[in-house]
């Protein structure tokens, strides 16, 4: 097992680790800033579904482009496109509310199971057919430091910037939409636009986050920081900022733990966030007693 000090040494010497630290902070920030909205709008399952859909998109990309690797820009584009199509389909169901025959959770359940099934089939077929390079499944599912290419850092930077700018510029609209979608629509806010914009941000964030913390764990980092922020803060804006800080710190702790203990980064990120959540709840309980 490496000594902790060697992490700092490795950080100075290894561009891969530097990229992971940068991308991790940015992804942690993006996930966490969206998470209070995800929690309040009860969209945790949507995030989960989209993360699983990413696996289908990945399988489709690897299958369609012979000799491709999972961190190629073309594969990422196909993955994001695939998830967006599914997100729009699910978004249409959820916008129609009670008017749809299929409930939102059923629609998501179907979409993500089918996507996972498709991904598993296509990736296996591709591996068997040409014996091309395929990273470990564990990396897809629970995250890996090795999947972060140089392009990934720029992608996460663009994503985090988009999330922060949208949340800052449309703060009051997203707040009203989250408070009550019908009320916001009655008052004349462009609720459909906000609905799909938020879904778009969510899809992009989940797909990018899944590269680092894995498909299975990506959605948890869209929930836990929000729960922590909402437990601590009395106003939505404050909860978003607090969650953002929790997100960045937990991703950095996750990368450190991943390197030092040689375990998937996703596991340490989520366990760190869960520990913080339990601590906040315990402190609140003590404060009330």
């Amino acid at each position: 097992m490496a000594e902790p000090v060697s992490y700092w040494q490795a950080l100075q010497d290894t561009p891969l680790l530097q990229r992971a630290v940068g991308a991790g902070a940015l992804v942690g920030l993006a996930c966490a800033c969206l998470s209070p909205f995800v929690v309040l709008r009860r969209m945790a399952f949507v995030g989960d579904g989209m993360a699983h859909a990413a696996f289908g998109g990945l399988g489709l990309g690897l299958f369609l482009i012979a000799g491709s690797r999972s961190d190629d820009a073309s594969i990422q584009a196909i993955t994001i496109g695939f998830c967006l199509v599914l997100a729009i389909a699910v978004g249409r169901v959820s916008r129609r509310g009670g008017q749809s025959r299929i409930s939102e959770d059923s629609a998501i359940g179907i979409a993500f199971s089918v996507a996972m099934a498709l991904g598993a089939m296509l990736i296996t077929l591709r591996q068997r057919g040409e014996g091309q390079y395929a990273p470990s499944w564990e990396g897809y599912l629970f995250g890996s430091l090795l999947t972060i290419g140089a392009g990934q850092v720029w992608l996460t930077l663009a994503l985090a910037a988009a999330v922060v700018v949208v949340l800052f510029v449309l703060h009051k609209e997203l707040m009203y939409y989250t408070y009550d979608e019908n009320l916001a629509e009655v008052s004349g806010l462009p609720v459909s636009f906000l609905h799909y914009l938020f879904l778009l941000l969510l899809v992009l964030t989940v797909v990018v986050a899944a590269r680092i913390v894995g498909i299975v764990l990506a959605s948890a980092s869209l929930v836990l920081p929000g729960l922590i922020g909402l437990a601590v803060c009395k106003r939505l804006g404050e909860a978003v900022v607090f969650a953002g800080v929790v997100g960045v710190l937990s991703y950095e702790i996750g990368l450190y733990g991943s390197y030092v203990w040689n375990v998937p980064p996703g596991s340490v990120v989520i366990l760190a966030q869960f520990a913080a959540f339990v601590a906040v709840l315990a402190l609140r309980r003590l404060g009330k007693a």
Binding site: P36, L40, R41, R42, R96, G98, Q99, S100, R101, V169, L170, H171, K172, E173, M175, Y176, T178, Y179, D180, N182, L183, A184, E185, V186, S187, G188, L189, L230, C233, K234, R235, L236, E238, A239
Partner: protein, 294 residues
């Protein structure tokens, strides 16, 4: 439940001209069904004029909330005509602000992280347009609205820590801050005790006079509404309407509602009015709730 089995008792809208002011809501031959479901509304006709207070009663699942959503422009009618302030409610544009809406309580809103002032300021958002944040002027009108509903001094309190009655007042203040002409309330008294209900009705009566509001309130609690509304309409897919000057026949209400007890209370209250003037029966504010499965 078959709508055919019910007598069509709808009177012509003209029969309820009330104060004779300009119409605020005009609904003619309105029908609506959710995808794959049976009709939620069947041939509904009515007119609400400026300054009137209409109570819309009916069993759960009778289409009350659906009708409100159509009036608000959230749902499109499949047949018939709906005009709000003389226009299609889905094409009101900037005049949407003239519709104040107090929706049914939901868990999300009850636990939303915001101060009273934050919530009331939401009422100013759409007039500000995208990108602009509320400034001193919006803050001032929000504080005024908070004062109008009797919550002065509570603007910095966490809205989720207020009582049910206070949260309803915050919702009304949020609607008022946009200076609406028409106030639509969906079950505002549910979850309130008798005292809370009476205070809310008093507040609405005062605000109606002060701001010349037209009020439409939906409730399944007929006795509470019967105390205050000038006109009562019963909605159970089709609409059956009467005003305070008429005695509703028990038989009609039983058919509309499948609920004898509520019919009794309306009749009882109106008898009392005939003898004692305008005072409602104080002991019946928290009357029996209607159950359409009777």
């Amino acid at each position: 439940m078959s709508t055919q089995a019910q007598p069509n008792l709808s009177a012509a809208p003209a029969a309820f001209a009330g104060n004779g002011g300009p119409p605020v809501i005009e609904v003619a031959s309105l029908s609506f069904a959710y995808t794959g479901g049976e009709k939620a509304l069947d041939n509904v006709n009515f007119t609400v004029r400026e300054g009137e207070f209409l109570g819309l009663i009916g069993p759960n699942g009778g289409g009350k909330t659906t009708l409100l959503k159509i009036i608000l422009g959230l749902l499109a009618p499949q047949s018939g005509k709906v005009l709000v302030l003389g226009r299609d409610p889905r094409e009101l544009g900037a005049d949407r602000l003239l519709l104040g809406y107090v929706p049914q309580d939901t868990g999300v809103r009850k636990h939303f992280p915001a101060t009273v002032l934050d919530v009331v300021l939401m009422g100013t958002y759409s007039s500000l347009g995208l990108f602009r944040r509320p400034g001193a002027a919006e803050r001032e009108s929000a504080l005024k609205a908070i004062g109008h509903v009797g919550l002065a001094g509570l603007q910095d309190r966490s809205a989720s820590n207020l009582s049910g009655g206070q949260q309803q007042r915050v919702a009304i203040a949020r609607a008022l801050v946009a200076h609406p002409k028409l106030l639509l309330l969906d079950e505002p008294t549910s979850g309130l005790d008798t005292g809370g209900q009476a205070q809310l009705f008093d507040l609405l009566e005062r605000l109606q006079k002060e701001f010349h509001l037209t009020v439409v309130m939906v409730s399944h609690d007929v006795t509470a509404l019967a105390h205050f509304a000038e006109h009562l309409a019963c909605l159970n897919k089709s609409l059956h309407w009467h005003d305070r000057s008429e005695l509703i026949s028990e038989e009609v209400l039983r058919k509309v509602y499948a609920c004898e007890l509520d019919a009794f209370f309306i009749k009882h209250k109106q008898h009392l009015e005939e003898f004692h003037g305008d005072q409602g029966p104080a002991g019946h504010a928290h009357g029996p709730h209607c159950d359409h499965n009777h």
